[in-house]
């Protein structure tokens, strides 16, 4: 058998583009990550199709960076079409795809609106010059709590370890967010130059809290279920979610960036190597970089849009919205948020294993 386990040394080559004749597009994305009306239609996508004639098949196929990667990596390694022409994945995973050559290089000529990209995101270390990826939405990881149970509110990650909350605290299974917050609490600059010692210190704190039973559970997106069922009363959370569940299950929760700082992440469009519809994908990206469209999406999903001018456009929709720091953060808010630095493969392996060992218990 050929020993092409995982990545493989020979990088696959991009598929031929048939966008000229094939006016369709498959978009794999996370759940609740685009505007949706009561009939289950996506208004911005409907408008996009009217405008360009490209039929978009929007699929909620990403539940987790790792599991999505696990599902498609073999096809990617062979350069095959994975059934998605564009996928939105988180920074570090995008970095891995780019390293492995699983993405197609974008033709910036097809994305003139890229000029609207927030300067802060124009040159990330995993994709200098945004040659392979373009941000879709971003968000903060911080802390949240049940206002009814904890009327006093929380301020820092330390507050989660309060004895009164024993067994009622949730943390995220996304290593960069949970460990990131803990490192920030320890005074580490997570974007800067830190090493094993800093990571270990934070990981140990988490291990202690999990083993002592202070932390009830470590979950991905389903931490929301626990919040709703009140299995947990406080948690490490993603900013956009809280707005959504407040709308859905009564205005019971509050989100805050901890005093020591929160993490900032982005999910990015990319075009998988086997996709024959790169141009269509670029057309789509360009469309969502129009400030009006970006504002419409942002108003619905409650995450941070990377499009300059969207805030102004949003004022037109709902002035209150524009004031929401979680959607249109000002400089002050942004200064509290930090981006987790890119890890080397060896670090990635090592830290993930250490983090997983907490998740799996012993």
């Amino acid at each position: 058998a050929c020993a092409n386990t995982g990545g493989g040394s020979a990088k696959p080559s991009a598929a031929a583009d048939t966008s000229e004749t094939d006016k369709t597009l498959n978009w794999a994305n996370w759940a609740a990550y685009i505007d949706e009306d009561d009939d289950g239609n996506y208004p911005t996508l409907v408008a996009f199709t009217e405008e360009t004639g490209i039929e978009v098949n929007y699929e909620v196929a990403v539940d987790d960076n790792n599991t999505y990667y696990g599902k498609v990596k073999d096809q990617l390694a062979l350069g095959q079409d994975i059934g998605a022409d564009t996928v939105c994945l988180t920074d570090w995973m995008v970095g891995r795809w780019i390293r492995f050559g699983y993405t197609q290089e974008l033709d910036h000529a097809n994305i003139p609106n890229l000029a609207n990209l927030t300067p802060a995101l124009q040159d990330p270390d995993f994709d200098p010059g945004r040659k392979f990826s373009v941000p879709w939405q971003g968000g903060f990881a911080g802390i949240c709590w049940n206002k009814e149970a904890i009327p006093g509110g929380l301020e820092s990650v330390e507050d989660l370890w309060n004895a009164e909350l024993k067994g009622r605290v949730g943390v995220l299974s996304e290593m960069r967010d949970t460990i990131g917050l803990l490192m920030l609490q320890n005074g580490v600059d997570i974007a800067g130059d830190w090493g094993d010692a800093e990571f270990e210190a934070a990981n140990e704190i988490l291990r202690e809290q999990v083993e002592s039973g202070q932390v009830r559970n470590i979950k991905g997106n389903s931490y929301l279920e626990d919040l709703k069922s009140e299995d947990t009363l406080a948690a490490i959370c993603w900013s956009g979610d809280i707005t959504v569940i407040n709308a859905e299950a009564g205005d019971k929760w509050e989100f805050a960036i901890p005093t020591a700082g929160g993490t900032l992440w982005n999910d990015n469009f990319l075009v998988p190597i086997g996709s024959p519809r790169k141009t269509n994908a670029e057309t789509l990206i360009n469309y969502y970089y129009e400030p009006e469209v970006a504002a419409e999406v942002a108003a619905w999903v409650n995450y941070i849009t990377p499009v300059v001018g969207a805030k102004e456009a949003a004022i037109a929709i709902d002035p209150a919205l524009a004031e929401n720091q979680l959607i249109f953060p000002d400089e002050d808010t942004l200064s509290q948020a930090h981006i987790f630095r890119t890890l080397t493969p060896a670090e990635e392996q090592k830290y993930q294993a250490a983090f997983q060992s907490i998740l799996l218990g012993s």
Binding site: A1, C2, A3, N4, T5, A28, A31, A32, D39, G40, N57, Y58, E59, V60, A61, D63, D64, T67, K71, V72, D74, Q75, L78, Q80, I82, G83, A84, K219, G220, N221, S222, L224, E225, K228, S229, V244, A247, E248, A249
Partner: protein
Amino acid sequence: MGLGDWLLPAYTIIAFVFLLIPIVYTFVFSFNDSIKSNIAWRGFTLDKWLNVCNVEGGAVCQAFGNSIVIGLVATVIATTLGTMIAIALVRYRFRARSSISLLLFLPMATPEVVLGAGLAAQFLAVGVPKDMLTIILAHTMFCISFVVVTVKARVASLDPALEEAGRDLYGSPSQVFWRVTFPLLLPGILAAALLSFALSFDDFIITNFNSGSVSTFPKYIYISASRGIPAEANVIASAVFIIALVIVITAQVSRAARVRRLAKL
């Protein structure tokens, strides 16, 4: 008599209540007027039943459709292959018999994660991309053993004298097979097929390792579980449950009626 007379029936009732609680819960929450996730009760609505396929661009229905297709194809292949093995095992004597029996028992004794991971590793090593085909191949594999067990019991209980009588009454070997053997095995074969379908339809673990980007109904639920399962999933599950129950109960009642009619003769 006394105690034992009502203790067991009472226990049985409690046991059934226990068994059915989560099913009733699932059914009730298919009418929940939920938004994204389906946890807190927000009021009664028929919307979810009326618009099952409208949510998330029909992802639920597509997953459901995939599950049906996979189940059907895997069932047909596994039933055919398994029935052939069952007949051979009961009716013929050959040397490798015990090794073959072991080979058939092993998949049933192997935990699903091992089956799933092993097959996934294999597909990986050979470079087969994961899609519907790999799921079908995987499902067929674990269904075969169950088919063999089910059909074998039927073949073994088939009186060989019946086939001999067929031959004695001028039936050629193929006539004897199609007119005597096959009709007599049919109920067993159907039971095996049903079992295969049920196993395939509800399988998540093996599927998860071998499905690549293809979604199936259990996989859809598993993925959605991390962010709240839409009530539409409850709708589909409840619908499948009700349809299956109606079919089975109708069959049982009509069988009972037939038996009673038979008893009157």
